[in-house]
Symmetry: C2
Subunit: 211 residues, 2 copies
């Protein structure tokens, strides 16, 4: 038995009703196969920017055997960009990552107390389109990730956004977009967080297009 009620956000009651009609077979029928659930999830998935954040003692990126970027203690942030992502998603991810309290306050001993900027630690951003992988059986499918020609400048603007928002811009480092990289890290704890942007911007855009 599988049930599905998709987590999404919609611009108008018209669209909401339309989607509820489309979803209703999944909402109210039992004994659906897992294939159906996956199809439903794929079609009505959350559309958002994704990040996987690892608290690290150190991290570096190597391309063709050469270290192109490195940080000491801080955060390694893998970024997955959805084809529908906008500046608002980038804003949210940037703000949340920089302000997440993932570090112990060493003067008080209190855990989950300080963010990466309060510690003056590094942030290493690495583009990771596989975060938008959906499993078709056992094979990953990446068709909802933003295509590389659009994702490259968008990702570059995200890196700039982090550098502007951090009061110590040099602390924000970057991999090489689209390159085959070896990403070295020492996950400290380990501490790994998953983050998704909310979807307001897309709804507003879609609403203004539709209305």
């Amino acid at each position: 038995m599988y049930y599905c009620l998709a987590s999404c956000a919609f611009p108008s009651s018209h669209t909401t009703l339309h989607l509820r009609n489309k979803l209703s077979p999944f909402l109210f029928r039992r004994n659906r196969s897992h294939q159906t659930l996956q199809l439903c999830r794929r079609n009505f998935q959350i559309r958002a920017m994704r990040a996987v954040i690892q608290r690290v003692s150190s991290s570096s990126v190597t391309v063709d055997g050469r270290v192109v970027s490195e940080i000491g203690p801080g955060l390694l942030v893998l970024i997955g960009i959805h084809e529908s992502d906008t500046d608002a998603d980038a804003d949210y991810i940037c703000r949340k990552v920089l302000n997440m309290r993932l570090f112990t306050n060493e003067s008080t001993g209190r855990g989950w107390d300080q963010n990466v900027m309060q510690r003056g630690y590094g942030v290493l951003l690495v583009s990771q389109f596989t975060l938008y992988g959906f499993m078709k059986g056992n094979k990953p499918d990446f068709h909802v990730a933003m295509p590389p020609e659009k994702a490259k400048p968008f990702y570059a603007s995200l890196v700039e956004r982090f550098q502007k928002a951090y009061n110590k811009p040099d602390a924000v480092k970057d991999g090489v977009f689209g390159a085959m990289m070896k990403v070295n890290l020492v996950n400290d704890g380990p501490v790994t967080m998953q983050l998704e942007s909310p979807q307001s911007s897309k709804n507003e855009t879609k609403a203004s297009t539709e209305s």
Copy 2:
């Protein structure tokens, strides 16, 4: 403007209707704050086992400066256990991780073609309760992760399950549950996947309790 239609699974139309009543203010009203959206997401979240899978050239776990576990090429799998997880979730995650086609077939050059077992590569499992962290503002809250006293034996049985399912049990390694660890890895690509178990088992259990 925020809208919310939560992705969940329910045992009966009674429960579904009850939830739709609870959700209706979020579904059909506009101009809700982000706080409300987050509350909605937190209360009606997906209940599943989570995994973050990284394809690695090598990985190891160090506790108190001593390497306790290591693999060469393969998968580092961070596991987040929800308080409601059952053997069915463990079965799903084990099967999917071992069968995901994340490796290139070197004889044909075809990408995303072979799974970790076909390559005879290692699997390093590390328990990671922070995957069930929800942000309360900027502070993570982990109250829906399975409590340690219950999670420890459950996680141990998950490791055994992987060892039994892999045709080369020695290839499956483990960290130290609950210890402060340094998890070293070289993410190769990088390739990072997020996985969640489906929710059938929980629905069946809940349905039989309620009926």
